[in-house]
């Protein structure tokens, strides 16, 4: 018994390892073929980051983690929420406007902004959920359309709601009053002093909540069951349509949080330069972490680490930092492939074990007969 368990653990670890090794080899091959210094690139990428960089990595990972959680909620239900990108941008915009108006004092204002972001994200994703549940429109296509619509809508509203600084062509919403900023957490007294987003705490809480709701509640069980088999879910009295809308809205609410660390922690307004493209990274990270709260965290840290470490590549070794995007994409692909390969291998091992056991039984029976 224990030996099969050991095998299972070894197989479980070997899949992500295999994926990382494969991604490492493929990236090296690309670098080699392009005549770039392979060793120097890895030397920089895998060096120990300085304290200042650690702060950036944690900040970035916080944002990516929330994006990954948002995608993962959909995945658990077998829904592809490609629309995290549009959802977080439109949510961050609305939150920035609400917080900028400062109807409430201090942290009440912050709280209201976060609540608005979640509500807007949920509603925007809810459109795709309702279309899927009532009209059978694939959520992949509708969320792609909604992403593009969100881009246009936000660009239009931004020009309406923004105040333009003198002599600058950067448009942005009103800056949030300082008493509503989320304080950062100091992780090293330095020098240099290193701060990370205060939102990191909320991200961790969200991770716990994700784990708890999906794994420990009736609702989470229903959601996962629906994702595994719709017919089984229907048979046990789950309304699939309601679950689709609920899962999409939850995913959207989580997506609404993605922009919050940046909005409340560093930019303090929503402008035309607000970071974009976080949604697609989240999908990759959710896949990497196998939709597991801890796994997604590891994936987010890995992606943020690679991004941060690649920044000085151009200056130090004259290689474009875009090489890291190749690595990240390859990791996603190799992770999925290696899980499949390892799974097939595991199945074969099991089949062989069963065959051996049967063989043994047959031979003992034969002996009994002849005896």
């Amino acid at each position: 018994m224990s030996s099969t368990r050991v095998i299972r653990i070894v197989l479980g670890i070997s899949a992500p390892l295999l994926a990382l090794v494969a991604a490492f080899l493929i990236t090296s091959a690309v670098l080699y073929l392009a005549d770039d210094p392979v060793l120097k690139v890895w030397d920089q990428l895998l060096s120990v980051p300085e304290a200042r960089n650690v702060g950036n990595i944690v900040d970035n990972a916080t944002v990516l983690y929330l994006s990954g959680l948002a995608a993962a909620i959909g995945f658990r239900m077998n829904l592809f929420n490609i629309g995290v990108d549009g959802q977080y941008r439109i949510a961050a915009f609305v939150a920035a406007v609400v917080a900028g108006e400062a109807w409430l004092p201090g942290y009440l204002n912050t709280f209201l902004a976060v609540l608005c972001a979640m509500a807007v994200g949920a509603l925007w994703a809810g459109i795709a959920g309702v279309l899927r549940a009532t009209r059978g429109v694939s959520e992949v296509i509708s969320t792609i359309m909604l992403n593009a619509i969100a881009t246009g809508l936000v660009a239009y509203l931004l020009r309406k709601a923004s105040e333009q600084a003198e002599g600058s062509n950067v448009v942005a919403t009103k800056t949030i009053p300082e008493d509503s900023w989320l304080p950062s957490i100091t992780i090293s007294d330095g020098p240099p002093v290193v701060d990370v987003y205060g939102f990191v705490v909320i991200a961790v809480v969200m991770g716990l909540l994700y784990w708890f709701v999906l794994n420990k509640t009736r609702f989470g069980f229903d959601l996962r069951a629906t994702g595994r088999s719709t017919t089984a879910a229907v048979a046990s009295g789950v309304s699939v349509n309601k679950m689709i809308v609920a899962a999409m809205m939850l995913s959207g609410a989580m997506a609404g949080l993605v922009g919050m660390p940046i909005l409340l922690g560093s930019s303090h307004n929503y402008g035309s330069t607000f970071q974009s493209g976080l949604g697609f990274a989240g999908i990759a990270i959710a896949l990497l972490g196998r939709n597991n709260a801890v796994g997604i965290g590891v994936g987010a840290l890995l992606f943020a680490f690679l991004d941060e470490q690649s920044n000085p590549l151009q200056i130090l070794v004259g290689v474009s930092p875009d090489i890291v995007a190749i690595t990240q994409g390859v990791i996603v692909l190799t992770v999925v492939i290696s899980y499949e390969v390892v799974r097939r291998y595991g199945v074969r091992l099991e089949q062989q074990a069963v065959a051996r056991a049967l063989e043994q039984e047959r031979s003992t029976q034969k002996k009994e007969v002849s005896a």
Binding site: S142, I144, I149, T151, G152, Y156, A325, G329, V336
Partner: protein, 421 residues
């Protein structure tokens, strides 16, 4: 059965009753009807750029990348492989066109675009067909890899070249264009006469014989060729059988995995060519971010077109047209289209009401009234909204007509060899 509902002029002929088959060459009638609607609109609203030969020529060029991406999607989805990596293959195509086009001339650029796209298709084929990876995961990964790879390669290969840099290639020569001089002049005369409907038809004809890029012609021929191969040859029948019932196909001796593999590679090549058109015809070099999500739009156009070549052409034409209009005095033209959309929506609502489908009729009627009121309240549509138009239309069409669409039965399912037993 569900009742069709359409909110746009372009798909109007598709609005026939479900059991009735579309007339042969319905796409021709559809185009004629669209031209008629546009002619009426030009008279009613006074917008004059709706069907000028300039607008139509630009539409043709704008449509081709979307159509080729959709055609790529058609090949792979007909063989049962969902291809969301079209965007990445399109990106690879733009780079291939820029690199090979600069070094070896425009036609080498075309070939380079196709080959780069096929490379993307190869990755997708290996991941999905050989390793049985979820099709959408593989597609998302390919989009990430392609974007990173192209930016990385561009910074290596284009930096330091005259006019080139890490975000764009040097200028690439143009592919040849065809002009039938006398005919073009004659049609231009007719167009200038401003005869109702006739001038608009002349404008369309003129856009096809005045500086028509060979690549556009080739793309249109590829559409016809795809239709012929997939629906008129034994090869095509077998390929489609892999997307409908792979187990049954295998039991009849079709090498399912081989067909799927080939289809995905062709799919990549077509999308790559789409990138080539973007870089060589629509622009004159590779630029970072040139595709602007056209791969996704192509996929949507294919679904809009119900996984058929004619519908795909209509869908991508609709996207190409609205995109082009929003670039050329967009506010005014899109404003005029609002009126058409309002009238069509109300008309569709009446149709629905007569068939007793009251909820849909209510929604459509409300939408129509809303659009009509908007038309009379504003003079021009802000540019951000005109760029949103195609997406909103797609969403509406999907919402009202999704039940009529039928994708290949085994689309997106992972097939393993020997499943036929």
């Amino acid at each position: 059965m569900s009742v069709p509902a359409t909110a746009t002029g372009v798909v109007e002929p598709a609005g026939a009753a479900p059991k009735r088959r579309l007339p042969r060459f319905w796409i021709v009638y559809a185009i004629l009807l669209a031209v008629l609607v546009l002619s009426i609109l030009e008279v009613v609203t006074g917008a004059n750029d709706l069907a000028s030969s300039g607008a139509i020529k630009a539409t043709l060029i704008g449509t081709m990348p979307i159509m080729l991406a959709g055609l790529g999607g058609l090949w792979s989805e007909r063989a049962g492989i969902v291809n969301i990596g079209l965007e990445g293959m399109l990106i690879l195509g733009t780079y291939g066109a820029g690199y090979f086009g600069y070094h070896h001339g425009p036609w080498a650029g075309v070939l380079g675009a196709i080959l780069m796209g096929m490379l993307g298709g190869l990755i997708h084929a290996i991941a999905t067909v050989v390793f049985g990876v979820d099709h959408i995961i593989s597609g998302v990964a390919i989009n990430i890899i392609a974007l990173g790879a192209v930016q990385y390669l561009a910074s290596i290969t284009f930096s330091g070249l005259p006019g080139g840099g890490s975000t764009q290639s040097p200028k690439v020569g143009d592919v040849q264009t065809i002009t039938i001089g006398p005919l073009s002049d004659f049609l231009f005369d007719v167009e200038k006469k401003d005869w109702f409907f006739v001038s608009e038809l002349a404008a369309i004809a003129r856009s096809l014989c005045d500086e028509l890029s060979l690549l556009v012609l080739i793309s249109l021929l590829l559409l016809v060729l795809t239709w012929w191969i997939l629906w008129r040859t034994a090869f095509g029948l077998r390929l489609r059988s892999c997307g409908e019932a792979p187990a049954a196909a295998e039991s009849l001796g079709v090498k399912v995995l081989r067909y799927k593999f080939a289809a995905v590679i062709v799919s990549g090549g077509l999308a790559g060519l789409g990138g080539g058109v973007l870089a060589l015809v629509a622009a004159s070099n590779y630029r970072d971010g040139q595709t602007g999500g056209r791969g996704y739009i192509g996929l949507a156009a294919m679904i809009f077109g119900n996984w058929r070549p004619g519908g795909l052409l209509a869908g991508s034409g609709l996207f190409g047209y609205t995109q082009t209009l929003s670039l050329r005095q967009g506010g005014e033209s899109i404003h005029a289209l609002l009126l058409a959309a309002a009238v069509l929506a109300v008309g569709a609502a009446l149709l629905q009401a007569r068939r007793g489908n009251l909820p849909t009729a209510g929604i459509m009627g409300g939408l129509g009234v809303l659009l009509g009121v908007t038309y009379f309240l504003i003079d021009t549509v802000p540019s951000d909204f005109s760029s949103m138009t195609p997406y909103v239309i797609t969403l509406l069409v999907l919402a009202f007509a999704a039940q009529r669409l039928r994708m290949p039965a085994a689309d997106g399912q992972i097939y393993r060899k020997g499943s036929a037993g």
